[in-house]
Symmetry: C2
Amino acid sequence: MASLDDADVAQPDVVMSSEQDWTSAFPPLRQLPEEIFAQLREASLIVELPEGSRIFGPGQAPDSFLLLLDGTIRVQQTSEAGREIVLYRVQAGESCALTTACLMGYEEYQAEGIAETRIRAVAIPRALFDRLIASSREFRQFVFTAFSRRVTNLFRIIEEVAFERIDVRLAQKLLELAGAKQQIVATHQDLANELGSAREVISRQLNEFARRGWLRMARGIVEITDRPALVQLAQHD
Amino acid sequence: MASLDDADVAQPDVVMSSEQDWTSAFPPLRQLPEEIFAQLREASLIVELPEGSRIFGPGQAPDSFLLLLDGTIRVQQTSEAGREIVLYRVQAGESCALTTACLMGYEEYQAEGIAETRIRAVAIPRALFDRLIASSREFRQFVFTAFSRRVTNLFRIIEEVAFERIDVRLAQKLLELAGAKQQIVATHQDLANELGSAREVISRQLNEFARRGWLRMARGIVEITDRPALVQLAQHD
DNA sequence: CGTCTCTTGGTGACTTAGTTACATACGCGC
DNA sequence: GCGCGTATGTAACTAAGTCACCAAGAGACG
């Protein structure tokens, strides 16, 4: 799909000057001691990657801690049979905390991260990351909070995949992807990949939703027409 | 079940002297500077809890970092409908890293931890934990490594729940629970709870396994009789 | 010892989800 | 307007989970 898909694009790691004041995007970091702050500005780089870049993946550990300035990173897992499930998304203002923990722990990262849009991020080298963790309570707080959120989210996913009905999960996902908009640009296959389900299953559910007048479909597009109904279903009855 | 179940027992937090040399159980910590080490011995407590204790759970955040000296902690999640799934176990020599991250991040912990056996653990108060993280690269390494392992494991669980067949997962779980032994002391319901499945489903699969001569069953007991066959199935064909 | 009760496991009918193997339809480039 | 790749539809089937109930085992207790 256009907005969720990963094109196969090379990664020309566009590296920009590290001069800009990107720190406004990360309030928690503003409280760092000036000395450390200086290090941060100096040793970290601002990188840009095109849409579709694979930022990390199995056997491809990232070498730095990323703070996302712009864009979205989709973190997903792919089974041997080629089925996918989306674990979470990193938005502007957030960090790739789990990635980093795995990096610090020297463990192979099992999930992969794809740039869903063109992204801009601050890359903090491993050594500096370690120094920051050591020297700043605020930075620790920032990192652990991010961890915490992700892990909590993983727990929720496990619960949903294990126990929640697919129609409920689909309704939730549609609302999540739509946000305030009415239209979702995604194929049935894309939606199946979001939920770790199969395309046929999603097609059937979507048709059922459409039959009930909750949405309209066009090629690659789902348009919500009865949000309250979806919300009601999503709220798990 | 006897070995996996959680009895409803009170928690008389038996606190012991902190004098003993428990550090031999945690090689990574032996490299700490002597000064920090002294703090650790002084400020941390050795606690004992009976089998079945609920160590943490939703709305019940732990207030310290736990290093397990003896016993096993089962971390699981329960759905609204009462169905359960086991996420991982903390063994002697390991730490409750995820719990701690969530604790540091001030987020409500969604899973619950149950003492599967009588346990003995070192409880490191939050403040000291923070100081240790700040002052010791070795301690950071230790914590992040544990974290990494858990997260990787969560990813595997998501993949298995979403994409793996139940017979394959059951075979894996039986082998895991059996270890080197032949007998597993667990009811079908217990096994279902391990996998986040339903009792009837597990019963059917076990009966099929028994029919094939791979195991024998008695009330509350599964005895493996053809390990190679189970291994073969577990290896995902 | 016999009966009562609670736990554990068995069974069949049914629903939901996922699989397989196609057919069809849309829309873009030419 | 024609082809072609991608997207969606469909039907028959298997796997997994649900529901409702029954029966066997294991203590408990008189």
